[in-house]
Symmetry: C2
Subunit: 226 residues, 2 copies
Amino acid sequence: MPERAVRFGTLHLEEPHSTVERVADELRRAVFDGELESGTPLREVALTESLGVSRPTVREALTMLVAEGLATREPNRGVSIAAPEAGSVRDVCRARRVLEGSGVRRWPDATDEERGRVRSTLEAYIAAVHADATYQELNERHLAFHVSLVGLTGSERLVAMAETLAVELRLALAQVERIRRNAHDQADSHAALVRLLEDGDIDGASVFLDRHLADAETSIIDALQL
Amino acid sequence: MPERAVRFGTLHLEEPHSTVERVADELRRAVFDGELESGTPLREVALTESLGVSRPTVREALTMLVAEGLATREPNRGVSIAAPEAGSVRDVCRARRVLEGSGVRRWPDATDEERGRVRSTLEAYIAAVHADATYQELNERHLAFHVSLVGLTGSERLVAMAETLAVELRLALAQVERIRRNAHDQADSHAALVRLLEDGDIDGASVFLDRHLADAETSIIDALQL
DNA sequence: CACCTCCCGATTGTCTGACAATCTGACAAC
DNA sequence: GTTGTCAGATTGTCAGACAATCGGGAGGTG
């Protein structure tokens, strides 16, 4: 967005402590909201002017985005929004199957807190569906549920990895805002998964999840027309 | 910095033509070689002088190290080498069990190329043991073998994650150079794992790997005196 | 008309220098 | 001995500048 805050306006000073963080957040938001198409080059001077920060700051923020996989840097050619390809979507989904599958299979051994988190993210998702939440909101809740499955493994690093994967998915989904398949069915599907887990049918849940993720993979690739 | 260090591991490509890359590489090398103890603060001006580059360049390199998990940044207090703790070692090992376990269980469905990579990294490790290679060299080969197990999943993102975990392990191991438990036994253990796989005993291999990683976890934590 | 070469502008990579905000440690005051 | 305050050190951020490199168009050649 062009002009935003003035120097002395300490309005939201506390949120992201550093200027770099704010720039990175702004860029992330713009990408996820679909304001920036994939492949769009992020010119340093342009950002410098539109955000009112210096070039080193912009560069540092861009480095962070690249590290997160949200953008790619080609030497001497600058940074541009990462472009999801069929191969990478497939790879992300394969990785998700491993991570979430491991979580699901560990359901009986997980702590109550971890299981509780799965239940509450599911509820939040369902509530959002019933409340006719925005597309972004639904996406957010949906991905949060899947991440919570990884949380069953009890490893914060695996959760962090799942969130990295979620970033790539969000990026891909932002490109095809109209994918919006029936949110009710989606939520029901997730509820069924959790029900299988609660009933102790781990193998059933595992198979169910696998099919669910496979479906997601093909529908995303379809929507991206890759 | 006039000195041009010879890198042992990834000797694939030419000089990283970016100055930032060179600085980051130099720092990584210093950390892995144990020249920098964990917790050591990385002063920007000091690096500026000792490496002969400007401060923005140093900062960018530091940002990369932080993103890799090799160092941590505290606002207004600078960047310091990450300090491995018992909890993080346990978490890394738990994550490894998930990733490598998934790879091992997929052995029958993996491509020939992926299986071949496991065999060749094992051979390289054994060769290094017989050749009485340096401590770093052995570590490198050892970790490469474990990463190759993750490669059986066929997902480059999971491999990338395994390498991130390996970075943390390398960091921890660099702190306890004298751990050096019997390398021959280690290599034999890995060979046994692959033999189980070649014989089609996937479950056996999976259990074997689990025990192997559990042993590694306790011995690392022991060595770190955490 | 097609093709190759060379030059020019645009953009990045890097440097220098500077300033404000913040933290650290020590010293003085009670 | 505890507390308050201050100077030094360090980071966060800015402004401006320069060389290296890439992409594309002008112009020459077949």
